[in-house]
Symmetry: C2
Amino acid sequence: MHPFIRVISLSLDKPSPSDKRADKERLLDGLRGTGIDLPVEIELEVLRKLPAYLREHDFYVTLSLGSMGDRYKVIDIGKPAPYAVAVDIGTTNMVASLFDLTKQERIGTDEQENPQISEGPDVLSRVHLSMSGKGGCLHSLLITGINELIGKLASRYDVSTKDIGVVVFAGNTIMTHFLLNLPVDAIAVENYIPVVNKPAFVSPHTIGISIHNQGIAYVFPNAGSYVGGDIISGIICSGGYKQKDPFIIVDVGTNAEIVLGCDEWIMVGAGAAGPALEKGIAEIGMRAGEGAICHVDISKDTDAVMIKTIGGGEPKGICGSGMIELISELYGSGIINQQGKFSGISGKIRDTDGRKEFVLYESAGTKLIISETDIENFLRSKAAMFASLYVMVKAVGLCFSDIARFYVSGALGSGIDTDKAVRIGFIPDIERSRFVALGNSSLAGAEMLLLNSTLLKDIEAVCAMITYREMNTDGEFMREFPAAMFIPHTNPEVLKC
Amino acid sequence: MHPFIRVISLSLDKPSPSDKRADKERLLDGLRGTGIDLPVEIELEVLRKLPAYLREHDFYVTLSLGSMGDRYKVIDIGKPAPYAVAVDIGTTNMVASLFDLTKQERIGTDEQENPQISEGPDVLSRVHLSMSGKGGCLHSLLITGINELIGKLASRYDVSTKDIGVVVFAGNTIMTHFLLNLPVDAIAVENYIPVVNKPAFVSPHTIGISIHNQGIAYVFPNAGSYVGGDIISGIICSGGYKQKDPFIIVDVGTNAEIVLGCDEWIMVGAGAAGPALEKGIAEIGMRAGEGAICHVDISKDTDAVMIKTIGGGEPKGICGSGMIELISELYGSGIINQQGKFSGISGKIRDTDGRKEFVLYESAGTKLIISETDIENFLRSKAAMFASLYVMVKAVGLCFSDIARFYVSGALGSGIDTDKAVRIGFIPDIERSRFVALGNSSLAGAEMLLLNSTLLKDIEAVCAMITYREMNTDGEFMREFPAAMFIPHTNPEVLKC
């Protein structure tokens, strides 16, 4: 393994009348002797401490070396600062993991709402805000939030943020731009051009991130406005880009992005999602958290609804995976028909002013209901997802049965019931063992990078392999979409390709 | 030529539905198209301006590209910042030249006393001060002085310091360490180890130098405690390292360092100088400036003394080149003997309390006299210089007649009368056309680098070629020194080798 920070101890030759090398060059020579074969940078702040340190420690030195791709950087001497943080900057939620890179293990994970939400609920509203001159404020909010998140996580595990030598960020293109305080104006208008695709390494302090003074920040590249660092990180996490056989990744977090590829090419399709599954679809939709319904079973015989919530307590709403199961069970038990309309007989269906609703849960204080409008919204998302999958797979001359691995990422991905999802045509009808749940693949890819800096080369390679296909303006997509609005499809054979 | 800053204008492809490259990558692709074949860095500060600039200028961009050896850096877009400064940081005096790199010409030069003088007159006193904890103050004094010098120079030629994209520094090892605020403790004690030999590129702002925000600072490397960046720069200036035939450089500024080498090896000898020629030798010694006697002729017949001063006004003292001529003329006219004692008859010799003195100049307000002690001090410097030269040339199996070029650098170097210097054995008796005056070679080397950044490779090569020979502890030197105290030498044949 090649963790992002290596802590190295070595005994240097001592100066003598025949060996008058300077301290820095003596240290660099010593490092080369341990197999460090790339250039090593040492900032003035570290150099200033070096002579006294070497002489106090009889030229035995312990230092932390941070990877920067084509070179290393001495983060510190004496105090190794071996901790590292991976951050997934979601539009809604930010998640961070703290690692001890000497032990090569994750210490803990924490999350926090993206504080930009106070200014605008989604990417588009924040971009418009930024274009009206509030970009700096959005940057500050984000940085403050990230520092809080990292600080909270570090303090919980009794780690000083000054001992964090590396932080890796993965986020969509807009979040990356806000992180770096880059203008997003050109991303929002025709041609949708980012300022930068490959920010790579930046000094944490130039963007306001509070870690070790000589720490390193790496920002995942994006492959255009719609293929962000979160997707690249997800591809890295899947490992699909190393396999000869085709793979698919669907990310059903905020936007339904689809990745199709193999070890020679990668196609990303996006822009076709309806509202995100976890919010905006159903009135009772919520993020996968405490109290969210994540599993639904409906008895064919008795209409009885069995639900499970995250955390096991009183349900507060329904998350993405719960929604898939709910629709699948409503359809399987005959309560809704192919069009998603309430056609069956159930004591749980109520008619309010001609609007039919299904009562999913009812207690003294809580009533969770699903309307036909909610179901239609869901079907629109499902149709967008499936039509995109179908168009992309066909475009490269493949069938669903050719897909060796079907990765499902996103908060939803951790708990998806593939049988139920296939039943409604949410995903194609392939061998179930080919489905792999990735969870938060954006975070997971960043975590993998912390533990293995040679993945920087993989990231470069992946970026070079990606082509982007916009679905919103794709004629083929438009033709396939209406058929996919049906449950499971107007032509169920299509699910098997 | 490859000036340190290149101003490039180019028309980039405009974004289109089939060309959605990010602004940064679009710019980098464009630069590659103009033949820029090394990696190019663009800092966030520049990236933040890029999208608006490109769209306001219809994707026609003018930028300044600074060389950083193995890569380039975009210093600015729109405002090219094509100015550059070379600074020689002398222990006594700092000299700076301002260049317009678009025109590849020097605009002007200015100098200023090194403000550290207020804390300690020489390197050693300042090192001791630094070891007692005042290093930060010495750093600040130096930086303030350099900023003043650059500011004064820029303002005289109506250039904003914010339009200075590059500054190159050459100074001895201690001055380089003070510049970078690095501790000098270990340089002052046994084994004499610097913190760094190759500082190379630093951000001007991290050391407090006020030029363009994204400007570049390059610091000449040293090849050990006694072979500073000023000597390396002088070697670059001479070009001797590129020639098959041996060359010598003597720098008689503050310390009499000697360089002997060719295109395969370079030997530097130092530490053997007596007091600097321009100060400390004679009571009337002074730096080569306004009012300093720089030429002396004494008539053999009439004892008449003819002097010339720098600036042509009333003499205030005598500089190094004047001192060489004075001793040479006193000897040539028989006023002093081989031992430097007043043995001849002259109306200008006065006897005060048994101490003999020579009246060089006398007017209503000024009386400039030379004592036998002054002459003895001078002869000690001369002997150190010549014995070093002799020992070094012999050590590599050469004769003085093998030396193809004999470069004389230092303020003294610009005006030395070689015949007079040879007559007293200050320099060897070789063909006069082989002597070349370099002037301030430390400044001149830095200036050459500004105009030709490919010299960075030469600097690397020169550093690798250098071996250092300490004269103070050299037995051979000790044996040769006494004979060289005579005028011209106990064995004048030795001058021709």
